[in-house]
């Protein structure tokens, strides 16, 4: 077996492990269960569910509690980390052995920071929208689904996906190596937010079957990240079914 593949397998188990732990936390942790509104919150096990149940009357500031932001970050770990195998393998391959773990951590933190900032924006928008639409948010659900579908098919979406395959040269020595890892993490985060924001926004408004929808979205985003770049154009690419089947066969 070639050692590149070996390194990649090692990293795969790492990120899938982290993702699984994050999923377990989201499902099991009582601290982010929604308020006791009972049957209204089928998806209360996750931060978006919390957001939705809280915002019936909540002010903007109340939404950005430490708990909510932490919950959002955990959700990103759960849903997004599996898409990072290729950049992480790249970093590991090209850095000194004793610095590999440190550089990969810096990359992941930078990536998380970008998604947290995106989280603040997405949660605000979600809140705003919820004040425009009224419960039970059926109209909101449909509009967000529509926006997500349009974005999925747009050339801009393909452009963001392509940029996620860009792996820059990284300096190996000194502080510069950490700077480059951080810069790579920021850039990767930005293009990742660019390609996934619509799906994530959609997930924040889907109260019913929230968890299965999140799982489905994760699979879509994972399989998208595994596609070879192609020229951006309008294209029907809702669910990469062939790729998903391929993933299942692996």
């Amino acid at each position: 077996m070639s050692n590149v593949i070996q390194t990649r397998r090692c990293i795969s188990s790492g990120v899938f492990g982290l993702s699984a732990a994050a999923w377990a936390f989201l499902i099991l942790s009582p601290s982010i269960k929604g308020p006791e509104t009972g049957d209204a919150v089928v998806g209360a096990m996750c931060i978006n569910g919390v957001l939705i149940t809280q915002t019936e009357s909540a002010a903007l500031l109340q939404v950005f509690t430490i708990t909510n932001l932490f919950g959002w970050a955990v959700m990103i770990v759960a849903m997004m980390f599996p898409t990072l195998i290729s950049p992480l393998t790249y970093i590991a391959e090209r850095s000194f052995r004793h610095k590999r773990l440190g550089l990969m951590s810096v990359f992941l933190l930078a990536y998380l920071l970008i998604w947290s900032m995106a989280g603040v924006v997405l949660m605000s928008v979600s809140l705003l929208l919820r004040q425009i639409f009224s419960a039970p948010y059926f109209g909101l659900f449909i509009s967000m689904l529509f926006i997500a579908l349009v974005w999925q098919c747009s050339p801009l979406k393909q452009l963001c996906l392509n940029r996620n395959h860009q792996h820059p040269a990284m300096r190996a020595y000194g502080l510069a190596s950490y700077q480059d890892a951080a810069r790579f993490g920021f850039a990767h985060g930005v293009w990742c937010v660019g390609s996934c924001w619509a799906l994530m926004l959609f997930s924040t408004v889907s109260v019913v079957a929230h968890q299965p929808i999140m799982l489905l979205l994760m699979l879509i985003m994972l399989s998208e990240s595994m596609q070879v770049p192609r020229p951006p154009s309008w294209e029907w690419r809702l669910i990469p079914a062939r790729k998903l089947r391929g993933l299942a066969m692996r």
């Binding site: 790249y90 000194f96 792996h167 040269a169 192609r230």
Partner: protein, 510 residues
């Protein structure tokens, strides 16, 4: 069943006295008379490999800007679905390189044979190969390709204007060195072994991520080098030759004779007892994991979908190569690793009995030159700073070569980007030649929306011998390597090649 024999194009002097070449020319003529959107046409086949006709090119290498001959049509385009199914399939920098190109040759050969038979030609016609590493004059392109007219006075479809050769003067031949077939000494298809530098004879295992951009050993040399030497650049440097660019190459009829030789070398390598990958992932091809399938138009435009396992042995295809059984008897009695061990002071008997190593290996970074380099005509020189701990670990394995497998070392030019493929970089380490790397595929790998996401190519050279020599000369004290990179061809202002980083790696085999 081996119904057909692919023979040496230099038989009968490589002229039109060679019936294989005469009929090849006539068959190519028939295919060239068909339209761009006809799956049986010469143009459609070239586009299956790669094309610059469906996009918005505003200059060369756009197909509209190719100087005739041949006059390349730019319309009518096939329907978007057909285009998506067939065009731009070529597999480079991956372990699918050999099986994909084998199927491609088979499909073209079927088309040509049908056309040739329809003209009253031989039913046993097969594609000839150009063995540029053969004896005598065989390093020259067979003369039939440079004639403007066929013996009967018609235009020669094998003649191409944009074919400039290694010195850009229209004199087409292959320079050796740097071109060689040392890769036949490899014993691993993918990965590395004491006899095989990474990424192996056939190329690296790839899936969704092509970002590594690393060619297999057969693909690097001779394949890539021959492409850019034959293609070359126009004397005024305005354009490059068709063969120098994957999106143009298959328009030149010499392309298929070159690839026929690459396919022959794969067959020779297998005939010498080396094995192809056995993992499902290779056997079933990228389609099994959701990527594009390998598909070729057969005559009458029926689709032939194939996988590597359909073509991975000569017993599964209906042709063989002239001289295959002779070539199968390797002439060298000592393997590359045995020679190396003897150089490192292990005695001959011991070296001969040392067990070939396992395929398990681990690589780590040994040193880098961290700044981006711009390569112009004058070349560039850089100091690679080594990590002394890693260096010492490696030197210890060289000193105790009798007890354990000594490390290998690689030099990698990383994130190499540029706009022109028709060039070769000669690399020197501490004044010793480390080899030459062709930039075939560079332009496409530098496109942001290309399959490498714009990360460029990683060009790698095995520098184990140089490190061994420095170690033996006790000239390896400093933690620095002096690397000099010299382009073979001049580089115009604004066309500089950029190298993101130079990395040196050690590979431990135990």
């Amino acid at each position: 069943m081996t119904g057909y024999t692919r023979a040496n194009a230099w038989n009968s002097g490589g002229t039109f006295n060679n019936q294989d070449l005469l009929w090849y020319a006539k068959g190519v003529g028939v295919m060239q008379s068909r339209t761009l959107d006809d799956p049986n046409s010469w143009w459609f086949f070239a586009a299956i490999h790669g094309e610059y006709v469906s996009g918005k090119e505003t200059g060369y290498p756009g197909w509209a800007y190719i100087p005739p001959a041949p006059s390349v049509p730019t319309s009518p385009l096939p329907s978007p679905d057909v285009l998506k199914q067939y065009w731009n399939q070529c597999q480079h920098q991956t372990w699918y390189f050999l099986p994909w190109h084998r199927g491609y040759l088979i499909a073209l050969e079927l088309q040509l044979r049908e056309a040739i038979v329809s003209l009253g030609g031989p039913e046993t016609w097969s594609l000839p190969f150009w063995n540029y590493l053969g004896p005598d004059n065989e390093y020259h392109i067979p003369p039939a390709f440079t004639e403007k007219k066929l013996p009967d006075g018609d235009d020669n479809p094998l003649f191409v204007d944009a074919r400039f050769g290694p010195k850009n003067d229209g004199n087409i031949y292959v320079l050796s060195p740097p071109v060689n077939q040392d890769c036949l000494g490899n014993d691993i298809y993918t990965g590395s072994s004491p006899n095989t530098p990474r990424p192996g004879f056939g190329g690296p295992e790839t899936d969704f991520w092509h970002g590594g951009g690393r060619s297999g050993n057969l693909e690097s040399n001779p394949h890539n080098l021959v492409h850019v030497e034959v293609g070359g650049n126009a004397p005024d440097n305005s354009i490059w030759g068709l063969m120098s660019d994957p999106g143009l190459a298959a328009l030149d009829p010499i392309f298929y004779l070159h690839h026929c030789n690459i396919d022959r070398l794969w067959a020779v390598w297998n005939a010498r007892g080396n094995e192809n990958p056995t993992s499902d992932k290779w056997l079933k091809g990228p389609a099994a994991t959701g990527d594009r399938e390998f598909v070729m138009p057969k005559p009458q435009a029926t689709a032939w979908v194939f996988t590597p396992q359909d073509v991975d042995a000569m017993s599964k295809v209906d042709y063989t190569y002239e001289g295959l059984s002779t070539d199968a008897r390797a002439s060298d009695t000592m393997s590359p690793v045995q020679k190396r061990l003897i150089r490192l002071g292990v005695n001959q008997v011991e070296a001969a009995t040392m067990a070939p190593d396992t395929e398990k290996s681990s690589t780590e970074l040994l040193g880098t030159h961290d700044q981006t380099l711009k390569v112009g005509s004058a070349g560039v020189r850089a100091a690679v700073k080594l990590n002394s701990t890693v260096k010492n670990t490696m030197l210890e394995t060289l000193a105790s070569a009798a007890k354990q497998a000594p490390d290998r070392a690689y030099l990698q030019l990383e994130n190499v980007r540029g706009t022109r493929d028709a060039n070769t970089l000669d690399v020197y380490v501490n004044g010793k030649s480390a080899g030459s790397i062709a930039l075939f595929g560079l332009r496409r790998a530098s496109l942001k929306d290309g399959e490498h996401g714009g990360s460029g190519l990683s060009l790698e050279l095995d520098i184990t011998d140089i490190i061994d020599a420095l170690h033996l000369e006790q000239a390896f004290d400093a933690d620095l390597l002096d690397v000099r990179i010299q382009p073979d061809q001049s580089i115009s202002d604004g066309e500089e090649i950029s190298i993101g980083r130079i990395g040196v790696y050690r590979e431990n085999g135990s």
